[in-house]
Structure formats: C-alpha cells, structure tokens
C-alpha cells in the first residue's frame, strides 16, 4: 500500500484502535485485525484479508485439468492433499472417471496422516499463542513439531516431498504403499499416539489453559449455521456434520469412525474436538492399512497429452473434510480442456468470517485464544 491514501480508522472517544497487522506472531499468517479497544476489552474487530491472494481461481482458467491438481496444494498448505483430493473428486464426478478402490483407500490414508500433521501444527501454535515464545508455549510447540517431523519423514519416504506431496491424480493416486511402508505407518501411529497424553497434560489438562479457553469465543448454533462455519468449529457448537459421513467420498463410506462433537461452542470445546480427532485419525490409518484392497492405483489409459482431457459441459460441486472443515470445489465447465470457472469453497474463509461476531466483549488476550481455536490458514482464506 505504498503511496496509497492514508487509512483513517474511525472510532469513538475513549477507544483505542490497535492494528494487529499482517506481521504478527499470532495471527496465523498474514491476517490483519483492526481492533477497537476500550482499555483491554475489544469493542469491534474488523479482519482485513487478501495479503496472500495469489489468484488461484484465475490461474485455473488457463491450465488443463490434469495439470491443476498440484496447484491447489498451496492453498491450505497445512493439509495439502485435502485440496487436491477435493479437486480431483470434482473433476472425476463431472467427467465420469472411475477411480480404482485401492487408490481411494490410499487417498484416505494420506489425507488422514495430513490431518494428524495439521492438527499437530494447530496444537503447537496454539501453545505459542497462549504461552508465548518465551514461556511454556514453546515447549508444547517443540514437542508437537517433533512428532510432526516423524510424520513428514514418513511422507517424504512415501512421496518424495515432505508435504506438498502431489499425491492425487485425476483418476487415481500417484504412489503406492508396500509392506515395509505399512509397518512404518503402524509404528509411527503408535509413537504419535503415545505422545498424545503428554500433549494433553500440557494443554487441555492444565488449569491455566482451561481458564484461558473456557467460555471464550462462544459460537451459538444459529450463528454457526448462518455464517456457515465448518469443520471442528461447527462440530464444537453441537452440530454433527462431517463431510466424510454426510457425503462419503474415497474410502470413508466403508471405514468405521466416529464424529467428535461438543456442545459448549467455546474455545475449549474446539480444542477438545481437534484433540479427539487426532486420536480418531490415528486409529483410521491403522484401519486403512489393514483393509487396503489390492489392485491398480491409476485406471485411466496412459495420457498421451495430459493437456487434452476434455470434460463435458456442466457444473459440479464436490467437497472433502479437510482439517479445517468442508473444502469444496465448484467447477463450471464449457466442454473444453480447461475449467471455465473454478471456485474454491475455502473452510478458513468461512470460519474467519465469524471473527467480527465473537471477538467483541472479550479481552485482548482472548483474541489470540479465539484465533488459535478457529485455526485459520491464510493460504486457504485468500487463495
């Protein structure tokens, strides 16, 4: 904004307008919050986004369908395969492309590992937010990232990269799992699961943490539905909606797992939902490798010209359950080899919209607790 008009923030007498600017340790990325404070109490909170807008939707209109899957992994960069998973599901739905069963189960496998990895980042950064970089939060952060490093090492062995794995292809998956990797996955699930009680004792079981998150940022059911929050934020307000159960995709129609809900709707409820989801995901990765069907992982004819795949004219919407919520792709096709219009239904964009509704009335210290409990990823918000 160099050289642009000076921004005047209007406020009443006695209010302090504080800019938690795009560069801030606790805004989970380049989010700008204009806070109007009266003492320590927040009166108004105006989020300003768009600092990470990279024009992915415009770019999508200029690349072929087969080229596009890796591009979306940069949106929600903490759970990359969820993005490309949603995209390939939409393309396959519109084009009527069949996916082999083994590929579906493998997609779910990688998605669940990335859910664990994303929730570990969330927990570590929540510790940083609530505890401070020079205090107890850093210890929780270090422990969570230690476990996450093991997961990233596993993904590196499987796919060659740590998290932008380029795993999903239109019509299947890219890398296969062998018996050695299955054993490694089970060992990893056991070790991450063994570390969870320690994380709990440093966060949810700690009275200071409970005081910081109880009754903070309460989202009522009506507000949640009207604004359209998704994912753990929605389930913590008592609404039992998980895309994996409501509109099953990949292997989730055949996998048994429970959907975690809480009714309180405050930051502590959102924390508990995510912590329990880590345990559910660890159980799921074990179930998946036990029941992995045999067969190919890519069933289309070898692509002579990947840029030539055409899709029939029409519209389609497909969604997955990313760690942040319902991540959906709405594709409008005009029958050519490139999307005519592609819209990403970003969960963090919708979750962040609740900020002006729940921040007022709390203290400055609650702002970071609430933002941490919403778990926004700015790549997902701005696309």
């Amino acid at each position: 904004m160099s050289g642009g008009p000076i921004e005047v923030v209007e406020r009443d007498f006695g209010e302090l307008a504080l800019n938690m600017g795009p560069q801030h340790p606790s805004t989970h990325g380049v989010l700008r919050l204009i806070l109007h404070l009266s003492g320590e109490t927040v009166i108004k909170a105006i989020p300003v986004i768009g600092y990470l807008h990279r024009g992915v939707e415009k770019l999508s209109e200029h690349l072929a369908y087969d080229q596009l899957a890796p591009v979306y992994e940069r949106d929600d960069y903490l759970a990359p395969t969820a993005n490309s998973n949603a995209y390939v599901l939409a393309v396959e739905k519109l084009g009527g492309i069949a996916v082999p069963r083994r590929a579906q189960w493998l997609r779910a496998f990688v998605s669940e590992w990335q859910r664990v990895s994303s929730h570990l980042v969330w927990l570590g950064t929540l510790g940083l937010d609530l505890g401070g970089a020079l205090g107890g939060g850093t210890t929780l952060y270090m422990y969570c990232f230690r476990e996450r490093e093991k997961i990233l090492d596993f993904l590196e062995e499987l796919t060659g990269t740590r998290y932008h794995t380029n795993y999903n292809l239109v019509g299947g998956a890219r890398y296969d799992l062998d018996a050695a990797m299955v054993a490694k996955s089970n060992a990893l699930a056991a070790s991450v699961g063994a570390a969870l009680p320690e994380f709990w004792s440093m966060s949810g079981g700690n009275p200071i943490f409970q005081e910081r998150t109880r009754n903070v940022g309460v989202i009522s059911k009506d507000l949640a539905m009207g604004v359209g929050v998704t994912g753990p934020t929605l389930r913590a307000s008592g609404i039992n909606y998980d895309v994996r159960k409501a509109a099953p995709y990949d292997a989730y129609g055949e996998l048994p797992f429970e959907v975690i809900t809480r009714t309180a709707g405050d930051a502590e409820a959102r924390f508990q939902v995510r912590m329990d989801e880590i345990a559910v995901s660890l159980k799921l990765v074990r179930t998946i490798v036990e029941g992995l069907p045999t067969g190919p992982i890519f069933a289309r004819k070898p692509l002579k010209n990947p840029k030539a795949t055409k899709l029939p004219k029409g519209e389609v919407y497909a969604a997955v359950e990313s760690p942040r919520g319902e991540l959906g792709f709405h594709i409008v096709s005009d029958g050519s080899a490139k999307p005519y219009r592609l819209k990403i239904n970003a969960p963090s964009f919708k979750n962040l919209q609740i900020v002006p509704h729940i921040l007022p009335g709390g203290l400055v210290a609650d702002v970071v607790a609430i933002l941490g409990s919403l778990d926004p990823v700015l790549g997902d918000v701005d696309r």
């Binding site: 008009p5 807008h53 009207g226 359209g228 909606y241 409501a246 919407y317 319902e326 709405h330 919209q353």
Partner: protein, 155 residues
C-alpha cells in the same frame, strides 16, 4: 443431486428452472426465495456464494444446505452485464457478507443493500475485476518498491 420435492416447490413458487446442482430463479425473486428456503424449508446452513461471467450475463450462485435432511441446494440468478446488480442476502445468511464482497471484488456484480460492499481480496484502490474474461493474465499488478526515498518522492 438436490431433493426433488424442494426443486418442485421452487419451480411452482418462484418459476425456477432446475439444473444439475439446484435451481435457477429470476433475479427479482432471490431474496424471497432464500428467505422461504431458510424459514419454511429448513435450509439454514450457508455453504458458498460464487459468481461467474457467462457469455451474455453474470451468474451469481448461492448454495444453502438443510442439515437435517443433508440436502444441498444451489440457487442461481443471472443478471445482464450492463446492469450487473443483484439483491444482497447478507441479512438472510450472515455468511453471504464476505462471499458477496468477493464476488464484487473479483467479478464486479454490485449487491444492493449490502452492509459493507468493498474489496476483500484485492487492494482497496485496485481498478478492474480480475476474474472477468476481459482481464488479461499479464495485467501488471502495481507493485512499487517501498523504500523511504520512493515514499518520500511520492508524497
């Protein structure tokens, strides 16, 4: 696939035409239709709002969901390109506020009675609407270096 009885209800009340994901209704009926969907039929959950520049018109699509019956309905309206104005549903679904700002920002459709219609993803003073087909991919994006000398020279 949206539930057929809802599609039938929309067809009779609001002269809607069904399409793959939902119904298309006249622009004038948007507010009443969505209010009816929310209050009478239980579609209280707002899913997404998107805009497309079709060949001859702008299309604005809102998707709403009924959590009890697990049904998602897409409601589409078309507005002519020279009068690109549509009613804002921000007071019906709070989640539409930012989605409509994004449609205004990227496509250029104005929303009547929107509480706060300004750009959301692009800088505030940016000219043009990037997702229009007439907006070239190599449009310069206005980066200027922010050294102290440059800022002094401009002010």
């Amino acid at each position: 696939m949206p539930a057929p009885e809802i599609v039938a209800a929309m067809e009779t009340r609001f002269s809607a035409t069904p399409f793959a994901l939902g119904v298309e209704i006249p622009a004038a009926e948007l507010l009443t239709a969505l209010r009816a969907l929310r209050d009478t039929h239980g579609y209280r959950y707002y899913v997404l709002g998107t805009g497309t520049e079709a060949a001859a018109a702008f299309e604005v699509t809102h998707a709403v969901r009924n959590l009890e019956s697990n049904d998602t309905l897409f409601v589409k309206v078309s507005v002519p390109k020279d009068a690109a104005e549509v009613d804002s549903i921000a007071f019906v679904y709070a989640g539409a506020e930012w989605q409509e700002r994004e449609i205004w920002d990227l496509i250029g459709v104005t929303f009547k009675a929107h509480p706060d219609l300004r750009r959301i993803l692009m800088p505030d003073e940016y000219p043009g609407h990037p997702l229009r087909k007439s907006f070239a991919m190599d449009t310069p994006w206005g980066y200027r270096p922010a050294t102290a000398a440059a800022v002094e020279a401009e002010s």
